[in-house]
Symmetry: C2
Subunit: 242 residues, 2 copies
């Protein structure tokens, strides 16, 4: 079993958290984890992008970056959300280099949803267990990753959560790894996280075939584009895929 | 059993959604439901406040209102989030009157967390089943509500969700009521909502006593303030509480 190598940071040491935000991301990949991580005692969270202009997620939600890449200080926990806009970042060396550099010094890198693909393009997934949104699981191999179908995968200092809402589960796991179980438990109670999904329909394994087919159809062109990008990056990085 | 009186809106009719946003709210009360509701086909979502200046939630997250109270058009679904800043709205007639007027014409009013208390102050809860964050359940009676301990309570056209993350469950329920089960099921699959909380700790019934005591202690002064406000409003509205 793959273990975490994340070490508990003592409560008196300020925890510096930074999340990358970008146009076309999915806001819940950020805001779900934010609802958890912002409740960790003695922490700060920066929303980092190239500039501080408001930007929109792919469903129109406005987000306000507060820190530029140049301004970002030391980062203990680096959060990489996903969403359709991830495609635009896959060749963006400014972004990828920032992730690469900061990941090296961070206690923990935490990807949510297709944020894992961005981490892949930055070279972080080589030889590592990782997960992502169920529509993109088959793409992880192109980045040299060991594909995990867990909702939250942990490998060394890298934690990845599956699609969108999995970011809440992942963030509670990250909070426990960085500050201990009791801190995470208090947060879970504060946010009243006893989910009751109204349908048994949240994964391709449980969804009725008709529902699954409809969602696959709707995402097929984006998934195809992501696959093309992943193959191109695999060739560039020299990753051999059978 | 209390039933919904919400009627399905045909897919070809645009669904007009508006959420009130305010300083000191809790962002996840909005962003959780937003991740669901924004995926309903043929809908629009407005974030409504007194002005369009960026505002911050109680944990520092920046939100950008895009519509003023005067600008807001017809509203089918009115979302009222909560959070500590709710206290400032309990006597704010500009806000309460907007809610009152728009609730009357809406297909559905949907409160999340302590957004239910704002609805109470607007007079919407009289004789109605409602729920809220577990720390505020005992306050609903002061607004003439029938307290529900369900995670999502439905009474007529009023849907209320318990604390914070319950907004996701509530929004899926609302999506099903307004557009049918299949629409909600597709959304649940798209957002991969098969939650796996890392601890069995999300409610006062399941949390270890030590964790419960710590969270109660932390919220005690806010809860006391909310109780004082609720009692004052009960007196004003002529609600008798045993």
């Amino acid at each position: 079993m793959i273990q975490s190598t994340i070490e508990i940071i003592p409560p008196e040491r300020r925890l510096s958290i930074a999340a990358i935000v970008f146009p076309g991301m999915d806001q819940i990949d950020l805001t779900g984890p934010y609802s958890v991580l912002s409740r960790i005692p003695n922490c700060s969270i920066q929303l980092v992008w190239k500039n501080k202009e408001p930007l929109r997620d792919h469903l129109g939600f406005s987000l306000l970056p507060d820190t530029t890449f140049d301004e970002a200080g030391q980062i203990d926990l680096l959060l990489i959300p996903g969403g359709p806009g991830q495609e635009e970042l896959m060749d963006d060396e400014r972004v990828l280099e920032f992730i690469r550099q900061r990941a090296e010094a961070a206690q923990c890198v935490f990807s949510v949803c297709t944020g894992a693909l961005i981490c892949g393009a930055a070279g972080l997934l080589t030889g590592r267990a990782a997960t992502t949104h169920w529509t993109s699981l088959h793409l992880l191999k192109y980045f040299g990753a060991k594909t995990s179908t867990k909702r939250v995968a942990i490998d060394g200092t890298f934690v990845s959560a599956a699609g969108l809402t999995a970011g809440i589960d992942g963030a509670l796991t990250v909070a426990a790894l960085l500050r201990g179980d009791e801190v995470a438990q208090k947060i879970q109670l504060a946010i009243q996280y006893t989910p009751e999904p109204p349908f048994n329909c949240g994964s391709p394994e449980t969804a009725p075939p008709k529902i699954l087919a409809a969602v696959q159809e709707k995402t097929s062109s984006l998934t195809a584009k992501r696959e093309e990008t992943a193959k191109r990056i695999a060739a560039k990085m020299g990753v051999k895929v059978d």
